[in-house]
Every structure is written in structure tokens, then in C-alpha cells.
Amino acid sequence: MIRDRVLNKGKILKLIFAVWLILWILFLLREDKDGQYRSLGYLYAHPYSGKVGYLMGDELYDFLVFCRQHIPGGSTCELLGFKRFSISEMRARYFMWPVRNVEKGADFKIICGEGDIAAPGYKEHRKYDGAGRLLARGAGLR
């Protein structure tokens, strides 16, 4: 009787461990997100700028590179055209540092995408050919 109980206990514990192993391998190897392996391949194959562009989206990345070239470090900016606290906004903030994102009174407004966002008191700082506008306070800082 005691022997049977011990054996059953052993079988149960072995079964639990087998389930653990199967689920571990299954969730480890399956693609968590569509195209995960393709993305990894792309990221391994490209240099740093290509990686950041891939993660951020090429259109946004190109525009922010343009903005960084034309905004002096230490200035302030307000990033617009994003869903508030979205991953794209956060990546843009991170990418733009040392240009500091603020809510009010920014030296520059960076309007990403095609959205028609009014910016009274700001004028175009540099012409950008793609989707996005770079505005500067007052008469601009040309």
C-alpha cells in the first residue's frame, strides 16, 4: 500500500516535470510575434542605424535624424503626432536626447506624420520633404 502510494507520487511528479519540459520548449521556440525570426535575421544583418530604423520604422527614423541634424543639443522640443505615451513617442524621446522633450514652451515642435496639428507662435524651421514638420518658436532659428 505504502509502496503503491510512493510510486504514484513519483509518477505524478515525473508527469509534472514532463509537462514542464514540453511547455518550456514549445513556448521557447515558437514565434512569439509574427516574423520574430525574420526580424532577428534582419537585425543581425544590419548596422546600428539600420537596427534603430527597423525598430522605429524607417519613415519616423529618417525624420528624427533630420530633426537631430537641425536642432542644437540642449534645446527643448515638443514631440507631436503620437498617441500619448505610445512606444513610438517614447522611442522618439529617447532618440532625440540631448534635445529634451517638454510639454510647454519648447524651442522646437516636432510634428511627426501627416497630421494637421496647429502650432501657433511657431514657424517652419527647416523644410522636410517627407511626412513631418520641424517648427521653431517665433521667427525660427535659421
Binding site: 507520487k9 513519483g10 532577428l40 543581425y44 525598430l55 512606444i87 529617447y94 536626447w97 522633450n101 517638454v102
Partner: protein, 464 residues
């Protein structure tokens, strides 16, 4: 290469503490424990060092940072160069190690495979996850480029940096690495696999002091292959670091309970003290640790009580000393108000709303427990084990684990009820899986205690 030097500098700082302070008390450690505990102590000390630099107006330049590990290395060298015979004291006491069984080798190979998988996922990706770019990595980038914490940083609003009031261990650790490597947010990601590895090795070393080697490696395998643990080793988040500090701190406390060796309690309190630099949630665990330490005092034998009281007082003093600089700033009013939990906005109406939303919390909780994607069958086995061995839950050493877990869980529940920034749905939806991560190490320890006798019953598996 510079990345490795930055880690070696952390090791020196931590090793100084262990070799010159702990070892003198004849505390016995293995080499893996020495290396990994040095890493965590070094990482904690870096927070302390950089924050004191900030308070003293010292910049975060490379020479300013490296001076501390260099001086500590000289002190270590001076102590052992003058009396070479002391070097023998440094080495761990050698036992007569058995050869690893096939089961042990397979489990270790599984963990190695998991680590390689994590490195494969981390290596090609720059910092990118939401909390990393909004909070930890952005702060590190700010500190590195400014050569310190900029004026007024702690009062900045959320438009500039997320949660300037959060503890700074991870941003400081990244700033430390940047001081060696220059700004490189591709290489710095590798700190997370290093933390994952250090956590598992330290956990294994600790488990070996409580259980057999076979059982210890099985427990480490379970911890390391839990998807949620591995997933948080891939991104720059502080949650895995908090899990590591809290788990290892609590296991040292359990070693104290078993051995009554004061140094174990001091190591526990040092790790709990440093955990307060990782995330605000550490306050809950440190409070639960204080209660568990007080319980150990109450439950001690009358003839041991005076010494137990001294142990507990020392432990509390260590936590207070380590946390003091950060909490002085926190309570000075210089920090921006926490946007999620603002007690001035916690009205009875808001509290009642949160209480009415408890079913939402329970729903998300059951999804975590029964959904295998993040947790495999971890929580199912724990719950089943707790029901099956319910009479053991409050017996012997198990009492402290159950007490610690329940008290910490109650603290988290109370915090959810005190949320004011957004709806409870929002908070539970975005946090519960990572909050459960904080508990998983201590929960695994509970499972280890509950099942050790039964696993011993399985042929060829010794847990004693």
C-alpha cells in the same frame, strides 16, 4: 572588452566586502557564490556611490568612478600581499564533490541552452522596450551625457522622463557601463543576460546550502526556464533585478533561520537594503522581511533571545543605512509626486471604486496562474502543492516563507487598492505579470520546502 572591465570593477567592489568583511567571520562560500554575490553587492554599491557623488557634486566621469574599485583592489592586495598565508583563508573549504549524475548534466545543459537563447535574442537589438526607452535607458543616457544627474532632474515631469521619482539602480548600472564603453545601447543590453546568469548561479549556490545538489539544480532549472523570468532577461527592465535581489536576500534570511549565523542575516539585510534602490515595490518586501525577522526573534529560544535581538537590530540598522540617502531625498519633497499612487488624491470614493474593481484583479490573476505562456505550470503546481501539503505551510522553516509571501502579497494588494493615477484595470493589466515575477523566487522556495520529502520518494532523486 570594456563592457567586461566594467563588470570586473563591480566584482572588485563586491568582492572587497566579502573578502575583507564577511570572510573574517569564517562564513563559508563557494567560488560561484563569491562571484555572483560580489556582482550583486557591486551593483548595489554603484547606486550608492553614484548617488553620493551626485549629492557631493562629483561628476560621473570615468576617473571619478574607477577610483573606488581601484582603491578597494589595492586594499585587498595590500592585505594579502603582506601576509601571503592569508590567501588560503580566501579559498572556500573543499569538500569531496561527487561526479554529476546524468540528470544533473541534462538540467545544466537545459539552463545553458536557455541562456544561449537569451543572448541570441539580446545581441542584435538596441534598447527598445517601452519602459527602457521611457525610463531606465533614457535616464542612463541623460546621466551619461550630462556627466551626472542634471539640475532639477527629480522634479522633471513625465513629458521629459517617465517617473523621475523611481529608484535608480538600473540607470546607475547602465551609466557605470557607459563610463567604460562610451554610449552604446547595443552592448549595454547584455547586462540583462549577465544579471540572469548571476541570479541563477547565486540561487543555485544558496539552494545547495539548504538542499541537496540534485534538488538545487532542479529548482534552478525550474526558475531559469520559467518563460517570464527568461523574457525579462531580454529587455532593460528592473523587474528581474528586483526578483534577484529579493529572492537571494530572502534565501539568506532562511539560511539565518536554519543556522543562526549572523552573517547570513547581514547579507540578507544588505541585499534587501540595495533592493530599495531597484524599485519602489521593494519597500513591501523589505517590510515583510522586517516582520519575518521580528517573528524569528519572537520564536527564538529564550536563552538565545538576547543574541537574536542583537542580530535583528543589526539587520534593521544595515537596511536603514543603505536606504537612508535615497529615502532622505524621497521624503524631502524634492522628488516629483508619484503619478500612479498619490495619497492626497486617495479619496474614499476612489478607494471604493478600486474595491469594486477587485473582480478585475482576480480575473487577471487567474489568467496569469492558468495561462501557460508566461508561467508554464509554475503557479498551478504551487497552488496544488500548497493545498496538498497545507499542514506543512506553517510548520518549521516553512512558516517564514509562507509568512513572507502572504505579507508581501497583502502589501501588493493594498498598493493596488491605493492606486489613483488611472483605473485599476489599467494598472492590473499592465503590471500583474511582472509583479508576479517579483514573487516567483520566494514562491519557488516555498514549493521546494513543500515537495522535498515527496521528490525524495522518486527513485534516484535525493533532496536531503
Amino acid at each position: 572588452m570594456n563592457f567586461i572591465f566594467s563588470l570586473l570593477a563591480l566584482e572588485i567592489t563586491g568582492a572587497f566586502f566579502i573578502l575583507l568583511v564577511i570572510r573574517r567571520t569564517r562564513y563559508d562560500y563557494s567560488v560561484p557564490e563569491l562571484l555572483t554575490l560580489s556582482f550583486f553587492l557591486g551593483a548595489g554599491f554603484v547606486s550608492y556611490q553614484l548617488f553620493l557623488y551626485h549629492l557631493s557634486g562629483i561628476g560621473f566621469g570615468f576617473l571619478n568612478l574607477i577610483i573606488v574599485p581601484v582603491v578597494l583592489l589595492i586594499l585587498i592586495f595590500a592585505r594579502y600581499a603582506s601576509r601571503p598565508e592569508r590567501i588560503a583563508d580566501l579559498l572556500p573549504e573543499k569538500g569531496n564533490p561527487r561526479r554529476w549524475s546524468r540528470t544533473e548534466k541534462l538540467l545544466a545543459a537545459g539552463l545553458f541552452f536557455q541562456l544561449l537563447w537569451i543572448v541570441l535574442l539580446v545581441a542584435p537589438v538596441p534598447v527598445h522596450s517601452h519602459d527602457a526607452v521611457a525610463n531606465y535607458a533614457l535616464k542612463a543616457r541623460i546621466f551619461h551625457s550630462a556627466g551626472g544627474i542634471p539640475e532639477g532632474f527629480f522634479g522633471w515631469n513625465e513629458a521629459t522622463v517617465a517617473h523621475p521619482d523611481y529608484p535608480l539602480l538600473l540607470p546607475f548600472l547602465m551609466t557605470w557601463i557607459y563610463a567604460f564603453t562610451g554610449f552604446n545601447d547595443l552592448n549595454v543590453n547584455m547586462i540583462m543576460p549577465v544579471i540572469y546568469l548571476a541570479f541563477l548561479v547565486l540561487f543555485y549556490s544558496q539552494m545547495k546550502k539548504l538542499f541537496s545538489r540534485q534538488y538545487s539544480i532542479l529548482l534552478t532549472f525550474i526558475l531559469g526556464t520559467t518563460a517570464q523570468v527568461a523574457d525579462y532577461a531580454v529587455i532593460i527592465h528592473a523587474d528581474l533585478i528586483l526578483t534577484a535581489f529579493v529572492t537571494c536576500a530572502f534565501v539568506y534570511f532562511m539560511l539565518y533561520v536554519r543556522t543562526k549565523d549572523r552573517i547570513c542575516l547581514i547579507l540578507s539585510s544588505v541585499l534587501f537594503g540595495f533592493s530599495l534602490w531597484v524599485k519602489n515595490e521593494a519597500m513591501v518586501f523589505t517590510g515583510a522581511f522586517a516582520a519575518a525577522a521580528a517573528a524569528s526573534l519572537v520564536r527564538s529560544e529564550p536563552f538565545q533571545r538576547r543574541r537574536a535581538l542583537a542580530d535583528v537590530v543589526i539587520a534593521f540598522a544595515v537596511v536603514a543605512a543603505l536606504a537612508a540617502p535615497w529615502f532622505c531625498l524621497k521624503f524631502s519633497g524634492a522628488l516629483a509626486v508619484n503619478s500612479d499612487m498619490d495619497f492626497s488624491r486617495l479619496t474614499s470614493g476612489r478607494l471604493w471604486q478600486n474595491i469594486r474593481d477587485i473582480p478585475i484583479l482576480l480575473n487577471f490573476f487567474q489568467q496569469e496562474v492558468f495561462g501557460p505562456k508566461k508561467w508554464n505550470i509554475f503557479w498551478i503546481v504551487l497552488l496544488a502543492g500548497a493545498i496538498w501539503k497545507r499542514k506543512t505551510l506553517w510548520k518549521g522553516e516553512c512558516f517564514y516563507v509562507t509568512f513572507f509571501l502572504l505579507l508581501s502579497a497583502a502589501g501588493y494588494f493594498a498598493a493596488y487598492m491605493a492606486m489613483t493615477g488611472d483605473t485599476l484595470f489599467f494598472y492590473v493589466n499592465t503590471t500583474i505579470s511582472r509583479f508576479m515575477l517579483h514573487f516567483c523566487g520566494a514562491a519557488l522556495l516555498l514549493l521546494a520546502y513543500l515537495l522535498k520529502d515527496d521528490i525524495r520518494a522518486v527513485a534516484s532523486f535525493n533532496t536531503a
